[in-house]
Amino acid sequence: MGIEGIGARVARKEDKRFITGAGRYVDDMVVPGMKHAAFVRSPHAHAQIKKIDVKKAQAMPGVIGVLTGKELKADGIGNLICGWMIHSKDGSPMKMGAWSPLAVDKVRYVGDAIVIVVAETKGQARDAAEAVEITYKELKAVVDATKALQKGAPQVHAEAEDNLIFDWEIGDAKATDAAIKAAAHVTRMKIVNNRLVPNAMEPRAALGHYDKAEDHFTCWTTSQNPHVARLVMSAFYNVAPENKLRVIAPDVGGGFGSKIYIYPEEIVCLWASKKTGVPVKWVADRTESFLTDAHGRDHVSTVEMAFDKNNRITGFKVDTIANLGAYMSLFSSCVPTYLYATLLSGQYNIPTIHANVRTVYTNTAPVDAYRGAGRPEATYLLERTMETAARELGVSPAELRRTNFITTFPHQTPVIMNYDAGDYGASLDAATKASDYAGFAKRKTAAAKQGKLRGIGMSCYIEACGIAPSAAVGSLGAGVGLWESAEVRVNAVGTIEVLTGSHSHGQGHETTFAQLVNQRFGVPIDSVSIVHGDTDKVQMGMGTYGSRSGAVGMSAIAKALDKVEAKAKKIAAHLLEADEGDIVIENGEVKVAGTDKSLPWFQVALAAYTAHNLPAGMEPGLKETAFYDPANFTFPAGCYICEVEIDPETGTTEIVQFVAADDFGNIINPMIVEGQVHGGIAQGIGQALLEGAHYDASGQLLTASYMDYTMPRAGDLPSFKVSTSNTPCPSNPLGIKGCGEAGAIGSPPAVINAITDAIGIVDIAMPASPSTVWAAIRAAK
């Protein structure tokens, strides 16, 4: 490892602009003539729109345009779609209701966009938005997915009877039922995974600019995947053909899944720009973000886990109801199915699994992938159940897990996934050691003397990342492929630009990706620029989510580097009159192995571009493109241990230690990887202790600001003890598994296992807020 190569803790190149206030986010963009938009949104969770009167608003100061869904439809703008087809177990396709970017006849959740107002200033746009008069006929709303399935519940979409979108299954129902029947012990639980709001710190924003002379649109937007945004807006929403639509995702202030999807606002801003003749910028305020960003989780499940007399799992049965909200967001259908139920084997040898999943419309914000996406929900079920089973069986939770660990690879689970590598025992050992698991009883006794309840909880998670072999996801219903692209441009002076289809919104790609290039050619990372986030600059790519930018994005770069290296070696061999096989590239020099003959890297690059003396028949230039389609998912895994101390008088839970031992495969920059784990754990602890999106029965979101939705703050969290013990991933050239989501996946069950251990109860609802914990302590007495 060089000082800037693979494995080095290099400080981030991109930091300079962020720490000096020179970052460029969408809201920082100014285009000549730019005006401001505000949306009129539904105050009702469910209502018919009887009349929209925009006259008063149109006459307000500064107003340029007030546009409705009717006009949008008349211009042929299409409905929003879900891009992953799931079929119910009876073979019928999922029942997708129409989602118009601006609601026309009916609104289905509080925040549903109805009218866009464009005005000289943001203030004027907002004032005018308040002057739009809409007459509604209120309808009964339903927010709870279980209630929505009941006969007679309010019907959200005519297309989906009883609000059921699909009734899907995976695995072997018969064999699993038989295993439960024959079991020596069965652990049964009902488990709720609470609804969360992703809350990237930068609110969503869009700036649409229509250039009349060129008949061309530019959209600056807070996107994790600008090319997908362009594809979808072009192919499905009829905004413009792809060659006439440029999507730019500049600096983006966090995503966590919520900025994968194409929302109504960016479509409407583009359309409104053409309609009004001015560039139109919209920036969400925080309450708009709470109301309209895709939410995460919101599952209710029952589980049955069967054990034989040796405490080996013999079967696992799951029944889940997943709330998808008022509309099917772009990837909403794959989250509670293929990103969820396929992970229900966890780290364990389970001979048979069956999961049934019903997805449901309700009058709430759309639900889609949020950090982990399906995998946290699966892990929460498994790891809560394992801990409960250990308590019921009277064995150590660590040993029950170890007894059931998968130890040989590859391992085919009963639910599609084929695990390629891992060492779950190593992570368990690392975590138990780092947390002094064995010494817990003493600490518990000491805490009891102080009047505190101390508990310890563990979670052994696995996730499937990289997302994923295109043919495989295609066969499962995905509307897109999930490869990644890269172009490596060596300039004539030897500096390098890497154009990647991945998108960095906090992950540090500008550094990590440059380290990969440094490792290969010895070029300093300052001489390597990473270009991303602009469909005019970068070839088609699939973007960043699912912890894929290392395993898939960097694999594409590695492939392109292979091609560049091969050509550079041919040129060098020709110039140095040596055999191509003897050429090595090291520390910025191109050498003939075993001799003192060498050329500086830049001279090889220059030779490629002067083209004065190239091997016969070789094209000039040194620039290569590669598309990498992964051969398998990757399978990061690990063991998390949480120790809590609860004050029984106040119900306050303090996390006294949190240990994470992960297996991420090979690591490019450990500092960045640790940062990803810290952030993921904080979100997981947030879910377990603090966060919850709450709607009242009428569909009003009660937690729609930071005054009401409890974000984890510095004082809520400890410093974390993180470590890795890595087994390289065999399916990609760099051996990377991915690390972006692990923390959020592994931590919630560890926290809740610790709290239930401390109180001596089976379950507690997330978020385990002080009042919930206090009540649980009283109830347990």
């Binding site: 400080a11 981030r12 991109e14 930091d15 300079k16 602009r17 962020f18 720490i19 000096t20 206030g21 020179a22 970052g23 460029r24 986010y25 809201d27 920082d28 100014v30 203030g123 809350n199 990237a200 710190m201 930068e202 609110p203 600096d251 983006v252 202030g253 966090g254 966590f256 920036v283 305020d285 925080r286 309450t287 919104h505 906090g506 992950q507 540090g508 500092m671 960045i672 640790e674 940062g675 810290h678 952030g679 993921g680 754990i681 904080a682 979100q683 600001s705 930071y706 005054m707 974000m711 984890p712 703050r713 510095a714 004082g715 969290l717 410093s719 974390f720 923390g743």
Partner: protein, 166 residues
């Protein structure tokens, strides 16, 4: 509309602002100082923290006209030319930022925090004092580390200066 005039990052600036204009919007929209961010509507997130007359202030909780006559420092004015402020340098060295959106507010808060604690800082104090700044990326682990490190660096530097002066 009211006239607003103050010193921002060492330069006197003036302009007209609607009475309802918040300081943060004046900085961003009138002065083009977009390093100060808006992350919420309720003065909770702290992405907009600047220094007004030497104190950390959420610039969304102050009208532009209220700041008239004050001396304001934003994230853009913190470094000394090409030399990063020790807090900026520590955030970089300790990976105290990821997406960068909360970072300007974090750094301005941290600078103020360190100045108010010449006796030095410990982890518990830093965590308590970060109450008004939300970060969604880092889990605060490295932010806390960066602030503690910067506090030490600055203490050393001021001791050195004191010695020189003596």
């Amino acid at each position: 509309m009211s006239d607003v005039s103050f010193v921002v990052n060492g330069k006197r600036v003036s302009g007209a602002a609607e009475d309802r204009t918040l300081l943060v919007h004046f900085l961003r929209e009138n002065l083009g100082l977009t390093g100060t961010h808006v992350g919420c509507d309720t003065s909770q997130c702290g992405a907009c923290v600047v220094h007004v007359d030497g104190r950390a202030v959420k610039s969304c909780s102050m009208l532009a006209v209220q700041a008239s006559g004050s001396t304001v420092v934003t994230i853009e004015g913190l470094a000394n030319g090409a030399d990063l402020h020790p807090v900026q340098a520590a955030f970089k060295e300790h990976h105290g930022l990821q997406c960068g959106f909360c970072t300007p507010g974090m750094i301005m808060t941290a600078t103020d925090m360190i100045a108010r604690h010449p006796e030095g800082l410990d982890e518990a104090t830093v965590r308590t004092e970060l109450e008004g700044n939300i970060c969604r990326c880092t889990g605060y682990h490295n932010i806390v580390k960066a602030i503690l490190a910067a506090s030490k660096t600055m203490a050393k530097a001021s001791k050195g200066k004191a010695k020189q002066a003596a």
